[in-house]
C-alpha cells in the first residue's frame, strides 16, 4: 500500500497504480479519454491533468502532470481541484470541442459519452471558436463497427486495442496533425473476433456498434448483470434491454475472467432471443400432423400417463450444457428420485475452435456450463455419441435443448423419431422440436436466474432481465410441477433456494452459496471467501468508468 494525499486528504492506495486508478479507489474522479488501464498510456488527450508533488519534493511541479502516466508512490501529493488543474481541463475540453459536431441529439453515445459528461462537469460553457469545423466522412470499418470521424478525438484507444489485446492491427491513424483520422487499410475490414470492444473503448460517439445503431437512447435501457453463454469462458456481461427485447450486451470487468472484454460471438450472438419464432406456449403434435397449441396441464397429464405405461426407468432425461447449475441439479434429482432412471444424458453444442489473441482467449467449448453439468450429473453421464446410443435403448425421453443453432447428426434424428414419447424443452423451433411430440417453451439466459460454472470452475450468477415469454415456464418450475405430478413433494419457491441446496448437498459445490457467488463468482474448492473489501485497482476503476 502507498500513502498518498489527494486533494488534501490522506489515503492508502494499492501499489503500482496510475494516479487515475488510485484516485478511483478512493472515489475521486480524474477525467480522461486516452487512458485505459489495460492499454499503454500515450497521454495524448491531456485531460487527466493534475498538480503533482513527487515524494520528497518541496512543492508541486511547475508543469501540470498527466495522472495516467503518474505511478503512485509513498508520500506523493496530488491535487485535482486547484484552479490550475481546472483551467487545464477546461482548455483541453475547449480544444477537443472545436471540431466536434453538436450532434448529440442524433448520436448514440449521448447519455454515456465521456466528452458530454466531462464537458458538463469540467468544461467551459461556451466556445471561442469562430473558424471552420472539419467534416471528415462516416465510414463502415467492419461487420460490427461504424466510424463517425467528425466525433473522433483521436485518443487512439481503438488502435492500441488492436495492437495490444487483439494483436490484429487492422486500425491505424492516417494523415497528420489536425487531419489525423482513425482508419483501416483500404480493402480490409476491422473483422477480428474482438472488434466490438473498440466501441466500448471509444470515449465518444466515433466508433459505434452497427448492431446497436439508432436502436435506443441509452437512458431508456434497463440493465442486469449476467454471464455470456457463448462459450465456457463465462465472460461477465451486462444485458441491456428494453420493452422485452435484448438490445445490447456489453462486457463487465472481471480481472479473473474476461478483463474488460468480450468477443463478438457473444456480444452480437443474442439475436435468437428476440426472434419472432421464439416458442411461447406448449405445443403438441398428433401423429403426422403439424403441432397444435396446448396448455401445460395437458402435458403433465400426458407425461404422467406415459411414465405409467412405459415405466420411469425406460425414460431418458437429457440435460443441456446450456442449463444452469440449478436446472441441472433438479434434472439430476428428477431422473434419480422421480423417474428412478439411470438413463441420464447431456446435450451440448459441438466443440469449436479455440481462438487465442495476445490478451484474450475465446474458448473452444461453445457451451456455458459443461463443467457444471459434469460436476452435477457426474462424469459418467452419456454425451455425444454415447448419448444417442443411450437414447436408442430408451422408450421415452424428456430433453432440454435451449442451444441456439444446434444441429443433430442423422443417426440422432432416426433414434429420436423411434421413441414412443418425446418431450423437448426449447426456446426456438429446432431439429429437436421438429421430432418432438411435446414442444415445451423454456427460457433463454436473459429470462432466468441461476448460475453457470465456467471452464475454470468459477460459479457465476445470471440475473433475470425479462419474464419468460408467453406461457413459457422457467425450467426449475417446470421440473418442480412435473416432479410433483409424478408423486414427489418438491417445494422450491426460488432459484436461490436451489443454489443453496446444491451447495449443501453436492460436495463439489460446497461453499458456492448465493452470498459467496455474488457479482464476481465463486471458484469451486477455493474455501471460505474472504470478507468483502472496498474495490481496489481495476475493479475500482471499472466501477467508476466502465459500463
Amino acid at each position: 500500500m502507498a500513502k498518498i494525499t489527494i486533494d488534501g486528504r490522506e489515503y492508502e492506495v494499492s501499489d503500482g497504480l496510475s494516479a487515475v486508478q488510485a484516485a478511483a479507489e478512493v472515489g475521486v474522479l480524474i477525467p480522461h479519454y486516452c487512458y485505459h488501464p489495460a492499454l499503454p498510456a500515450p497521454a495524448n488527450c491531456r485531460m487527466c491533468l493534475i498538480e503533482l508533488t513527487p515524494p520528497g519534493a518541496p512543492g508541486p511541479l511547475r508543469q501540470l502532470a498527466t495522472a495516467c502516466t503518474t505511478r503512485v508512490a509513498d508520500g506523493m501529493v496530488i491535487t485535482t481541484n486547484s484552479p490550475r488543474v481546472k483551467r487545464g481541463r477546461e482548455m483541453t475540453l475547449e480544444f477537443l470541442l472545436i471540431h466536434h459536431p453538436l450532434d448529440c441529439p442524433t448520436c448514440d453515445e449521448a447519455g454515456e459519452c465521456d466528452l458530454q459528461d466531462f464537458t458538463f462537469l469540467f468544461g467551459p460553457d461556451r466556445s471561442k471558436y469562430q473558424e471552420a469545423k472539419r467534416v471528415p466522412p462516416r465510414k463502415t470499418l467492419g461487420p460490427y463497427v461504424e466510424i463517425f470521424k467528425t466525433r473522433c478525438i483521436v485518443c487512439t484507444r481503438c488502435v492500441r486495442f488492436t495492437e495490444e489485446i487483439s494483436g490484429t492491427r487492422e486500425l491505424c491513424l492516417v494523415n497528420r496533425g489536425v487531419h489525423d483520422e482513425i482508419d483501416i487499410y483500404p480493402g480490409r475490414e476491422l473483422n477480428n473476433k474482438l472488434s466490438g470492444n473498440v466501441v466500448d473503448l471509444c470515449p465518444v460517439g466515433a466508433l459505434l456498434s452497427r448492431d446497436f445503431l439508432y436502436r435506443s437512447r441509452p437512458w431508456f435501457l434497463q440493465k442486469v448483470n449476467s454471464i455470456c453463454p457463448r462459450c465456457s469462458k463465462g465472460c461477465n456481461i451486462t444485458v441491456e434491454y428494453r420493452d422485452g427485447e435484448v438490445v445490447r450486451l456489453r462486457p463487465r470487468y472481471n480481472g479473473e475472467v474476461n478483463d474488460f472484454w468480450m468477443c463478438d460471438d457473444g456480444r452480437f450472438g443474442y439475436h435468437y432471443l428476440n426472434s419472432p419464432q421464439r416458442l411461447r406456449r406448449p405445443m403438441v403434435r398428433q401423429e403426422g400432423e403439424e403441432p397444435e397449441p396446448t396448455v401445460w396441464p395437458q402435458f403433465f397429464d400426458a407425461m404422467e400417463r406415459a411414465v405409467g405405461e412405459l415405466g420411469g426407468e425406460q425414460f431418458a432425461v437429457v440435460a443441456s450444457a446450456w442449463n444452469t447449475n440449478e436446472e441441472l441439479y433438479l434434472i439430476r434429482r428428477f431422473a434419480d428420485e422421480v423417474l428412478r432412471t439411470k438413463r441420464l444424458g447431456l446435450l451440448a453444442a459441438p466443440i469449436g475452435q479455440e481462438e487465442r489473441f495476445p490478451k484474450f482467449v475465446i474458448e473452444g467449448d461453445k457451451n456455458p456450463n459443461r463443467t457444471g453439468a459434469q460436476l452435477i450429473l457426474g462424469e459418467a453421464v452419456s454425451t455425444d455419441d454415447a448419448l444417442w446410443e443411450m437414447l436408442a435403448e430408451a422408450k421415452g425421453a424428456l430433453i432440454f435443448g435451449g442451444i441456439p443453432e444446434l444441429s443433430l447428426p442423422e443417426r440422432a434424428r432416426e433414434i429420436l423419431a423411434g421413441l414412443e414419447f418425446l418431450a423437448v424443452v426449447d426456446i426456438l423451433p429446432s431439429e429437436l422440436t421438429a421430432l418432438a411430440e411435446w414442444i415445451l417453451p423454456g427460457t433463454g439466459f436473459t429470462e432466468k436466474e441461476g448460475c453457470f460454472t465456467n471452464s475454470q470452475r468459477r460459479v457465476q450468477a445470471l440475473e433475470r432481465a425479462m419474464e419468460p415469454l408467453g406461457n413459457a415456464l422457467p425450467e426449475w418450475q417446470l421440473l418442480s410441477y412435473l416432479a410433483n405430478v409424478l408423486g414427489a413433494d418438491w417445494s422450491y419457491s426460488s432459484v436461490r433456494q436451489i443454489t443453496q441446496e446444491l451447495a449443501e448437498t453436492v460436495s463439489a459445490f460446497e461453499g458456492a452459496t448465493p452470498e459467496t457467488i455474488g457479482k464476481r463468482g465463486y471458484v469451486l474448492g477455493s474455501g471460505p471467501k474472504p470478507p468483502e473489501t472496498p474495490l481496489k485497482g481495476n475493479d475500482a476503476y471499472a466501477a467508476m468508468f466502465w459500463p
Partner: protein, 468 residues
C-alpha cells in the same frame, strides 16, 4: 574590446575541396583527437564534457555532460542517435557539416560512444539531405575501411557501428523522442517524459540523442582540453535559478533573410544580435531592421529595440526568447509581420504531429485566426483572441505547456511574441480590413508597453576579446 570576428573551429576548412574525404580531413588534423581519446577513462571524459560547459546545440541548450551522466552504466545495449534532422526554419549549419565535413561528425560520435560505452550509433538524417547522406555514408564506409569504426577500433578492443537512417520530411522527428519513434519505424510522435531517453530511449534502452553540431564540438574539446574550450565564449555569474550561465565554445549562427550576406557564421558566443547582422553585411540595401528571430522560427521575435542582447543561451533566455538552433532570421522594414507570422503558423500547423489535443487542434486554430487578420477579415479583439488561444497551447509567460513535447511552446512563442510586439501592425489590418505594412516605428509596440522590456543582461565572468 574589439569587433566580433568569426572564429572557425568546426567550420575550419569547410570549403576546402574534398574535405568530405578521409584523406583530406586527416591531412587537416582530422581524427587527431582519437590519439588522446582512448587514453581517457570514460567517466573522466564525461566529467570533462560537463566541465567544458558544452550545451546542446539542437535547441534546448541542455548541458551535454549532465545529460550523459544520467545514462545508467549497467544497462546494455545503449544507443547514440545523432540528430541530423535539421528542419527548424532558418537553420542550415548541419547541412554543410554533413556535406563537407562528415568525418568530423563521425569523430564526435566515436568520442561520445567511448564516453558512454555505446556500441551502436544511428545518424538520423533528414530525408531531403540527399547529398549530405551520400557523403556521410561514404565517409562511414571510409572510416570502417580505415579501422576507425567497426570491431576493435585501433586495437583498443572498443567496437562501434554507425548507421545512417533517413527521415522522410517530418519536422517533429527533430524532437528527440519523435526521432526515436521514427527510428523505430513509427510515426514520429514524441513520447511523454519522464522517462527520458537517457533511461529509456531507442528500443526502450538508454539512449543519448545529440545534435550534429554538439557532437562536432567534441573532437576539439578532447584534443585541446577543457580549459581551452572554456576560454571561448561567455560565462556569466549570478544567473537566476534555472538559468545555466555557461555559453562556452563557438556557435554556428545561421543568418538568413534580409541581410547582405546570408550564411553560417561561426563566432564565440557573446556578440549581440546587432553585431551578428553587421557581420552578415548588414540589412540588405541599407534598410531598417523591423524584426529578428534569434534562434530558429520557434524563438520569440525581437524588435529593433532588442538588438543589443547578446546572442547566447543565457541572455536570450533571460530576455524571454532563446538561442535555440542558432537560426537568425532578419526581417527589414518591407516585411508585413502578420504575413510573417501567418507563414510560420502555416508551417507549424502543417508539422504538428497531431498526437496531443492542444497542439493538434490549437495550432491550426491560431493559424486560422492569423489568416483572418492578414486577409482583412479580423474583428476587434482578435489580437487578444490570438494571444489567448496561443497561450492555451502553451503559456508563454508562465513557461508551462500541457502538450507532450515542446512543439506547443514553439507555436505559442512566435504567435504571442509577434502579436504583442507588433500589435499596432496587427490592429491596422483589422482596422483597415486589408494587409497593411506600417513603418517600423509605428509597427512596433512601444517599449514601455511591451512585456519583454527592460533587457536584463547579467555580468560576465568571461567574455570574448575578439583579438585574433
Amino acid at each position: 574590446m574589439g569587433t566580433p570576428k568569426e572564429l572557425r573551429i568546426l567550420y575550419e576548412n569547410i570549403d576546402l575541396p574534398g574535405m568530405y574525404t578521409l584523406e583530406v580531413y586527416q591531412q587537416h588534423g582530422g581524427y587527431k583527437s582519437l590519439e588522446k581519446l582512448f587514453e581517457i577513462e570514460p567517466d573522466a571524459l564525461i566529467e570533462m564534457v560537463k566541465e567544458s560547459g558544452l550545451r546542446g546545440r539542437g535547441g534546448a541548450g541542455f548541458s551535454t555532460g549532465l545529460k550523459w551522466s544520467f545514462v545508467p552504466k549497467d544497462v546494455e545495449p545503449k544507443y547514440l542517435c545523432a540528430n541530423a534532422d535539421e528542419s527548424e526554419p532558418g537553420t542550415f549549419s548541419n547541412r554543410y557539416i554533413l556535406q563537407q565535413k562528415p568525418h568530423m561528425l563521425i569523430e564526435g560520435i566515436i568520442i561520445a560512444c567511448w564516453a558512454l560505452g555505446i556500441h551502436t550509433a544511428y545518424v538520423y538524417v533528414r530525408g531531403e539531405f540527399t547529398l549530405g547522406k551520400k557523403r556521410l555514408d561514404a565517409a562511414i564506409a571510409e572510416a570502417y575501411q580505415a579501422g576507425l569504426l567497426g570491431k576493435n577500433i585501433r586495437g583498443t578492443g572498443f567496437d562501434l557501428d554507425v548507421y545512417t537512417h533517413p527521415g522522410a520530411g517530418a519536422y517533429i522527428c527533430g524532437e528527440e523522442t519523435g526521432l526515436i519513434e521514427s527510428l523505430e519505424g513509427k510515426r514520429g510522435q514524441p513520447r511523454n517524459k519522464p522517462p527520458f531517453p537517457a533511461v529509456q530511449g531507442l528500443f526502450m534502452k538508454p539512449t543519448v540523442v545529440q545534435n550534429v553540431e554538439t557532437l562536432s564540438n567534441l573532437p576539439f574539446i578532447v584534443q585541446n582540453g577543457v580549459e581551452w574550450y572554456k576560454n571561448l565564449g561567455t560565462i556569466y555569474k549570478d544567473t537566476p535559478r534555472g538559468v545555466d550561465p555557461m555559453n562556452t565554445g563557438t556557435k554556428l549562427y545561421c543568418v538568413s533573410g534580409h541581410v547582405e550576406r546570408p550564411g553560417v557564421y561561426e563566432v564565440e558566443m557573446g556578440l549581440t544580435v546587432r553585431e551578428l547582422i553587421e557581420m552578415a553585411g548588414g540589412v540588405r540595401g541599407g534598410r531598417q531592421v523591423k524584426a529578428v528571430i534569434p534562434g530558429g522560427s520557434s524563438a520569440p521575435v525581437l524588435t529593433p529595440y532588442e538588438l543589443d542582447v547578446p546572442c547566447d543561451f543565457t541572455c536570450l533566455q533571460m530576455n524571454k526568447t532563446m538561442l535555440g538552433s542558432g537560426g537568425v532570421i532578419v526581417m527589414d522594414e518591407t516585411v508585413n509581420t502578420v504575413e510573417a507570422l501567418l507563414n510560420l503558423m502555416e508551417f507549424y500547423a502543417h508539422e504538428s504531429c497531431g498526437q496531443c489535443t492542444p497542439c493538434r487542434n490549437g495550432t491550426p486554430w491560431v493559424r486560422d485566426i492569423t489568416r483572418r487578420i492578414f486577409e482583412g477579415r479580423g474583428k476587434p479583439g482578435d489580437v487578444d483572441h490570438l494571444i489567448e488561444v496561443a497561450n492555451m497551447i502553451a503559456d508563454v509567460d508562465a513557461f508551462t505547456w500541457n502538450t507532450i513535447c515542446v512543439f506547443g511552446i514553439a507555436v505559442a512563442w512566435p504567435a504571442v511574441s509577434f502579436a504583442r510586439k507588433f500589435r499596432p501592425e496587427f490592429e491596422a489590418h483589422i482596422r483597415e480590413g486589408r494587409p497593411v505594412v506600417l513603418p517600423v516605428e509605428e509597427a512596433v509596440t512601444p517599449p514601455e508597453e511591451n512585456y519583454a522590456w527592460p533587457q536584463t543582461i547579467p555580468e560576465a565572468v568571461r567574455r570574448p576579446t575578439w583579438d585574433y
